[in-house]
Symmetry: C2
Amino acid sequence: MESSDPSPAAVSKTQEISVPPVEGVAGGGTSYGWVDGGLQGSHLGSSVIDPTKVHSADLLHVWSMPSTANVSQQEAPRPLEHVNLLAARNERESFQIALRPKVSWASSGIAGPVQIQCTDLCSSSGGRLVVGQSITLRHVVPILGVPDALVPIDPSSPQINLLPGETTAVWVSLNVPCGQEPGLYEGEICITAVRTDSDSKADSLPKSERYQLYKELKTCLDITESRDHSSSEEMILRLSSTSTTLRRMLVLPAFQDCHENNGLGDMMDEDVMNNVAVRVKLSLTVWDFTLPLTPSLPAVFGISETVIEDRFCLEHGTKGWYDALDHHFRWLLQYRISPFFCRWGDSMRILAYTCPWPADHPKANEYYSDPRLAAYAVPYAPILSCTDAAKNSLRREVEILKTEAHWSKAYFYLWDEPLNMEQYEVIRNISNELRTYTPDVRILTTYYAGPSGSELAPSTFEAFTKVPNVLRPHTQIFCTSEWVLGTREDLVKDIIAELRPDLGEEWWTYVCMGPSDPQPNWHLGMRGTQHRAVMWRAWKEGGTGFLYWGTNCYEKAMIPSAEICFRRGLPPGDGVLFYPGEVFSSSKEPVASLRLERILSGMQDIEYLNLYSSKYGREEALALLEKTGAYLGPDRYAHDHGPVDVMRGEVYRTCRS
Amino acid sequence: MESSDPSPAAVSKTQEISVPPVEGVAGGGTSYGWVDGGLQGSHLGSSVIDPTKVHSADLLHVWSMPSTANVSQQEAPRPLEHVNLLAARNERESFQIALRPKVSWASSGIAGPVQIQCTDLCSSSGGRLVVGQSITLRHVVPILGVPDALVPIDPSSPQINLLPGETTAVWVSLNVPCGQEPGLYEGEICITAVRTDSDSKADSLPKSERYQLYKELKTCLDITESRDHSSSEEMILRLSSTSTTLRRMLVLPAFQDCHENNGLGDMMDEDVMNNVAVRVKLSLTVWDFTLPLTPSLPAVFGISETVIEDRFCLEHGTKGWYDALDHHFRWLLQYRISPFFCRWGDSMRILAYTCPWPADHPKANEYYSDPRLAAYAVPYAPILSCTDAAKNSLRREVEILKTEAHWSKAYFYLWDEPLNMEQYEVIRNISNELRTYTPDVRILTTYYAGPSGSELAPSTFEAFTKVPNVLRPHTQIFCTSEWVLGTREDLVKDIIAELRPDLGEEWWTYVCMGPSDPQPNWHLGMRGTQHRAVMWRAWKEGGTGFLYWGTNCYEKAMIPSAEICFRRGLPPGDGVLFYPGEVFSSSKEPVASLRLERILSGMQDIEYLNLYSSKYGREEALALLEKTGAYLGPDRYAHDHGPVDVMRGEVYRTCRS
């Protein structure tokens, strides 16, 4: 009745009670119905709602949200607007459709099911983006309460259930093939409230009724097939008895709709659907830029082979094991990611390899030559067991690969974050060995500090920047954590100053546990732009590659459909960018996270920025990133989607032919 | 790879990088599988799981939680323990069963359905608490992300769906009838993972197949019922043709299981169920105390008639309207609540009445005499339209009621929180009028401040305590907001000091928007003990009654199943203690909130404390409340359930005969 904010004022007997009742809210009573738009709809009546007879707009809110929005269950409805998107060829552009029930129309537990149907997108010149191929729908499912998993919606039965008082989102992705003709593509998505299966009783036949039918049919059969056709009277009797039984069967409730509409009215009528659906208009401008097949920035991401072996109960080296790894490799490639499989040994010793097959296997060439693969890890097998056989096999491996055109994409990743001179020594020894096989070997080393045991205190920034001095020529790819920079972009020049590009030295970056909020990273619960900004940051800072330690590093389980638990001690989502499909359905296809889609978007943004750089220079591209408000620094970047579209639109406007 | 907490350390080039990697977590790789109890279960295999063949304990976590726990979707599993409860006769005691999938066994969208079956609870002497009557199961459904709505689980199909990575709770209530024999009652709840309906295909008959059946039956009928029995040959032919068609029907897939098991094997086999179920053992001690039918503390709660009229599209005064009010009245009575219907007029003028029928209607006596009703509001109809007819009708009403035994329960509630002398004047005038009808009229007035326009500044605590001086003899029930006290219980004596019990004056309290956290109230998102403590507070402070303004005061809507929106400007849940059943299912039964159940528990606790007082004195009962840690003050009370059970157990131990 009174306002409770700020807190009660009776701290002393004579002190003022300071807060008057909120006007129009006091008592809650006089304010009844004062909110505009209190749900009107007495035409729906007070009985159970038949969604085929009511416009779906009366039953649910439908509105669109950008791909960088985290649409929570409490997301408030917005007006429905025409969706306008821009995409290059070989680009995926996504947005979301948010749905929230206004009323409940199902008979139990849920508010009601909705059907989501998308038309093909067509251009006036006959171009077409086909649903199911170029257009996909996925249901946004919360993980730890945060929208994250994108569970494919079965195209043959594109329905999801809405819950009372909850907003649900559908993730719509448009994949523009390389050969797609530029132009304006238009189509629409129809959202229709439908009946639940259990509500349309006609579809199911209760066991009791089915058994009754069965018995009656048997009875009839007993009567008709008797071989004893003694008399006409007897036969007349039998025919008449059969008729009676048949008539009784035909009036069973199960057949009611067969009478009514000749059996053709089971599906919701196409016309009804057209009349009651909420339509989301969709326009996609495909422009005459084709994202390069090979990502400009190699982004190498780890897949734990151990996690795959455990969860899918696969023995190392079996056909099932090869199939599973192959499946994961192909699936991740579509995200402009260059996968490597990995297994950790003692300390931070790591076996990293992109292709599970040896270099002389036909699959090896298929993997390494794939233009979508920007970099690949060559397995340094002796890291796990340092036998002569392992060494010989490695030598053969290198001897085959170094003659190939794709050898320039090769790297060795031997040790994750070496911390002391002893670990550095291991890298040096391996490097010396590898360079006897070929001098142009590339070794990648991740680090976030200098080594202990050298003359510099390991935890100083100076020791960190001097790592190239200690590891030269035993590392070519110096891969440092963004965490070290914090918000100090200016420190980048100190890192780069220590490198020798003339010797082929490169600077790459990585994120993992750190940096944390508000800097860009891929933890669950961060903003969508924060996820996407990881790649903006990498591009702006000028690194020439990026590493992420794990995409499937959830907790151990021995059942494909086992619940996903994030590893304790890691921020939620860290090291997990997709989920096993089996957790959500009977599909074996991995389920992408929102975060993985935003990584792809960030990778695509890099190509836009590189296109702009190629026309107007890198300085202008940096200026574009800043002036649109997309990204100014690790703690200053767009919070909402607007600047992202402005930036991409500006590249389109200035770079289209 | 490194720890990100605290924040990045690279604030200066030479500053220390202070945080070493977390042991065993660095890299995320070496720590793989280090959590004990990583889900083992390779015996489940890697294919789709058949829940009838696997123990449900391998598929889901099951554990119990007390009624004061808010079991969130992220609630972590605990060990399953035997549930031990204590209840008096005429008491409801509740607890929760939390469920969380370990794996997914359904084919799409959900982790899988579970069946929840409770046995009757039986005592060794033959006593029985029957499922469906004395034992109810409800599904805890989140509202604004907070567990709140208790949606009944259909006893004929007691299933709920579990979602991947989400904890779900079932609310189990044991209602002990007045006549129940004391003793130890035992039983169990079986939780069984089951197949989804769509997975057990035999239950459904596809439309196409059904229509085929229908056509074949028609064909047979055409053949058999022809009246043209010309020849025996003809009839033999017809019988034979019918047989052929019948045989074709009998081998349809729909009838497959009818052949196999004679139609009896449709349900999950009882034995299978017994073998694979998770069993929650349940013991209830019913003791020889019977909660008084009439609550010791009258708790009067408002029901908005306007909200009912709008949502259920009912015209005032029609049969449907009376039925709806009657339904709400009866339903709320079970919560030891004395309902009043209300409608707000200008300013904070209020029409409050407990019975929609006039005093001379048989229903009026039924309502007012109900022993569960502790107090009732007599409608002061002229508050809305001050006609002679209204006045005459009121006089007749009072003249009838004042002769009845239940008249001592009657009160008038005329104005919600009068704020100035003008509004006080209205109350005085009505009081003068009412006292001409009968001198022993009781008027209830709510307030949280003194009136403006008197000699004292209205917002001082002094003006607030002096209200009885201003309203005497025009108010008997001085009903003040707990918000005014804040955490200062000691101020209670200043309020009471101003009252004249010799004139029948009473002090009641209320909560509404305030007080806010950490004080007890019924807002969504507060702790369970915080909800329950409202009544502990009322009892400890010594008020003789309690008022709550609204139980169904959500936003306006004109459709029974419309989404529930809390009114803007009010804390979530304020004024809403139950929901329309239609929002959650086709049931018209209101859906209680967790908070309403906790109010009931608090009302029951009061009877325990009064029993203890009656034996050992109020001081000892106050000491019990304190020493068990249940309630020490408005900002010091139990956070967890333990002290609640200790307090109740102590009353049982010391007061049983």
